[in-house]
Symmetry: C2
Subunit: 143 residues, 2 copies
Amino acid sequence: MGTRTGCVMTKSILDRLEAQGLRMTDQRRTIARVIQESEDHPNAEELHARANALDSRISLATVYRTVKLLQEAGILERLEFGDGRARFEDSQRAHHDHLIDMDSGEVIEFCDPEIEALQEKIARRLGYRLEGHRLELLGRKLK
Amino acid sequence: MGTRTGCVMTKSILDRLEAQGLRMTDQRRTIARVIQESEDHPNAEELHARANALDSRISLATVYRTVKLLQEAGILERLEFGDGRARFEDSQRAHHDHLIDMDSGEVIEFCDPEIEALQEKIARRLGYRLEGHRLELLGRKLK
DNA sequence: TTACATGCAAAGGATTTGCCTCTGA
DNA sequence: TCAGAGGCAAATCCTTTGCATGTAA
């Protein structure tokens, strides 16, 4: 689950949190660690479960508050795969797109420089400077 | 608002509804008409407001039920732009992607055969047959 | 006639918030 | 010390559903 290509990790979420001068609490440390160690795209409830396994003093409300904080700080990216709940991932891991297996729901990550370049070109043609994008491919396994 | 390129309209939503052998009620006719005439990407509440302007006997619940019906029949596409509510559009208009103006929120539609082809290629490379995709570009107007 | 559609209000699920207590710096 | 963080439960927002009534075919 979770194939990746060409993405480099630099600073830990914790480092980036501290760099922003945000107050460090046990809860934030734990949640940061959980996100850091997640190879998939957990939703709030999943983050809560994983964080609780490390420290049972963490409430779901705090997970939501922390996730929003990290998102506003640009540390975390919020994703929506159309199932009605938000999913999260480290934005340093975020320079990639997703292919969703329509049968199993498995999410495969990929990076493609060609598609990035093409997107730039399209935006420019429409009179815009590209600031970001979301791309999800939906497919079924070839036999 | 709503620029488009290279998309052709063939049958009305109403025709497609009838072609599926679904029961035709005044509510469904009105909702179909409202979607047909929408050039933007209305959410359920907006559809409800527009439908009510034509016929006040339409409840929000019926809008939700009809929209789900049309979606399952492949007549309508459900979109999510990350604001937590679903938006809808005629799927005959749906072979295109969206560029979202990060400042104004305006949504520009575009079709690009190159990007379609590239997506096919990427999916195949990952061992999948492409069945669909979602692509949103986020950008700011060039000055 | 009768299976299916609708309205209304209540239920549900995800997320946010008020309030009071606790704690990092 | 004390502004900001967290827990808990209530509130909110969007969407779905149960039930009694209405209606297309």
